[in-house]
Amino acid sequence: MTSEGRVWKFGDDVNTDMIIPGRYLDRYDPKHLASHAMEGADKDFASKVRPDDIVIAGKNFGCGSSREQAVVALKESGVSAVIAKSFARIFYRNAINLGLLVIASDSAAEVFKDGDMVAVDLGGSAVRSKDGTKMAPLHKPPERAMAILRAGGLIPYIKSSLGREVG
């Protein structure tokens, strides 16, 4: 599982109201949600984010409301991975369950800056700049999370286990 893209940097305690404000939750349409992604943190994000871009943030990313539309907004806008010093627990579970790669790293937020081109190497547990000059180690997600991610999210993961129980 690898991912390559351009870095968007954010600070500590990015909450889910910043990722997708409550006033946009009336309508569940991934494209509508993506058009307001990160609006509370960076008004330009939604219009400038490109497929495969990578969010790198400080501690406690995704704190606050349990709204999984926060993950949907990021995923639909093309974000391929979120790397943070730490994650708020519900956001972390939501991301895994919806198949968005989320990885903890103690140093990525210090090492990389906005616009860096980076590649996530899960096997090697590191994120590296494409020019080879910078690197930050990653904490590989727990095995259960990896199994759900590999299945493509919780729904396919459970479907395959329901199938096994029936079969």
């Binding site: 109201d17 006033r23 939750l25 406690n60 349990s66 999984e68 519900i90 259960r144 286990s161």
Partner: protein
């Protein structure tokens, strides 16, 4: 071998195991699974499993509270779809528009019991800890997974034990205790942990006050918060013939990650300023902040006790010109009781506006959304930038008494000036 924490006991029981320890991952079967308007999303994910109904419809609770009555035609469509879903699936524990906030109803309607495990598609599911249960938030898709399989994985949390010592001062409330804790712990100080409240002075704190403490623990990152059921619980719930036993409290030799004594006498009326929960200072330090709106309500502080405290402050007074006081009772029962007691009359006479029971403007969807440059003091739980509307608005958090005093003075105000006797 040391004893077990109440969190360890509850998760062991819910997982069918004799004993578990903090750090272990368990497959737990919840006693209740909760969702609100996002039942629409739960159902959407659930439909992919090809199952006709949840594993146990009796353990499913659905409450319409976030946008009630419907704020848009789209919301009305979602509400109608959810009504159809609960009917088709035989979900009896369905609370339609106007009955109240999900976390309030779980406790008030006595759906959740000491030692129970509740998971919910809402971050404030920890509120159930007020009656000695383990409540924790999940996302909608994961709740769909619970509907399908009847279980989910949970890591058994470490427990931070906080002992209450002494009595609260006049005009100081459980909200002030929670804000004090937020100032110490910050928004991630309890990440992934269980906060357990204890100490003999817990007697003093009502079920309503315990709900405030367990609700606000989430703002410090906690996975759950639990007040073990005690005599105060037993007195609140006399129909529960068996007094809660050892299964509902930590063993004397349980292993806590930390134990802290919290001296109640040292806590004063507090306010959390924009836009961070830990930006807490004593109320008098905010004395020059003028307000446009004062809001009393939410799953944190919209209960009878809260409305009574506000009415004591407001009695015989008028709110300041240009200020809007908005009050949303946490449930229809709270509203009915407050009507019976004359509390609503007092609030209305003072110039307040009563909203239907529900989440109200807390999440910025309707019923008191803030415009650019506006300032609101709220009895809610979040002062994130943009939470209640405009990114250029400011939200201050405080107890209902402090919110009511602020409505009278037109600025952030000290409730001790208006509450001159002990409640």
């Amino acid at each position: 071998m040391s004893g077990r924490t109440v969190a360890e006991k509850i998760l062991a029981r819910a997982s069918g195991l004799d004993s578990v320890r903090a750090g272990e991952v368990v497959e737990a079967s919840p006693d209740l699974v909760l969702s609100h308007e996002n039942t629409f999303l739960v159902d959407r994910s659930f439909s992919e499993f090809g199952l006709s109904r949840p594993w146990d419809p009796d353990r499913v609770v659905v409450v319409l509270d976030h946008r009630t009555p419907a704020n848009t035609a789209e919301t009305a469509r979602v509400h109608a779809k959810i009504r159809e879903t609960v009917k088709r699936m035989g979900i009896g524990k369905f609370f339609d528009v106007g009955q109240g906030i999900c976390h309030q109803l779980l406790v008030e309607q006595k759906l959740v019991r000491p030692g129970g495990l509740v998971v919910g598609a809402d971050s404030h599911t920890s509120t159930a800890g007020a009656v000695g249960a383990f409540g924790t938030g999940l996302g909608a898709t994961e709740v769909a997974g619970v509907w399908a399989t009847g279980r989910t994985w949970l890591k058994v949390p470490e427990t931070m034990r906080i002992n209450m010592v002494g009595h609260l001062n006049r005009a100081v409330f459980p909200k002030d205790i929670a804000l004090h804790l937020a100032s110490k712990l910050g928004p991630s100080g309890a990440d992934y942990k269980c906060i357990e409240f204890g100490g003999m002075f817990l007697f003093d704190i009502s079920i309503s006050g315990r709900m405030v403490l367990c609700n606000m623990a989430v703002e410090m990152g906690a996975k759950t918060a639990i007040v073990p059921a005690d005599a105060t619980f037993a007195a609140w719930s006399p129909e529960c013939k068996e007094p809660p036993g050892d299964a509902c409290r930590s063993d004397p030799d349980a292993r806590f990650e930390s134990t802290t004594d919290l001296e109640m006498e040292r806590i004063t009326p507090l306010v959390s300023g924009p836009h961070r929960i830990e930006a807490v200072r004593s109320v008098e330090e905010f004395g020059d902040v003028r307000i446009d709106q004062a809001f009393i309500g939410t799953c944190t502080n919209g209960r009878l006790e809260d409305l009574i405290a506000a009415s004591w402050v407001l009695k015989g007074n008028r709110i300041a010109p240009g200020v809007r006081l908005i009050v949303s009772p946490a449930s229809r029962t709270v509203l009915a009781d407050a009507l019976d007691m004359g509390v609503i009359q007092t609030i209305v006479n003072a110039g307040g506006t009563i909203l239907p029971p529900g989440c109200g403007p807390c999440l910025g969807a309707h019923e008191g959304v803030l415009g650019p440059g506006e300032v609101c003091i709220s009895s809610g739980n979040r002062n994130f930038r943009g939470r209640m509307g405009s990114d250029e608005a400011e939200i201050y958090l405080a107890s209902p008494a402090t919110v009511a005093a602020s409505a009278i003075e037109g600025k952030v105000a000290d409730p001790r000036r208006w509450l001159t006797v002990d409640l």
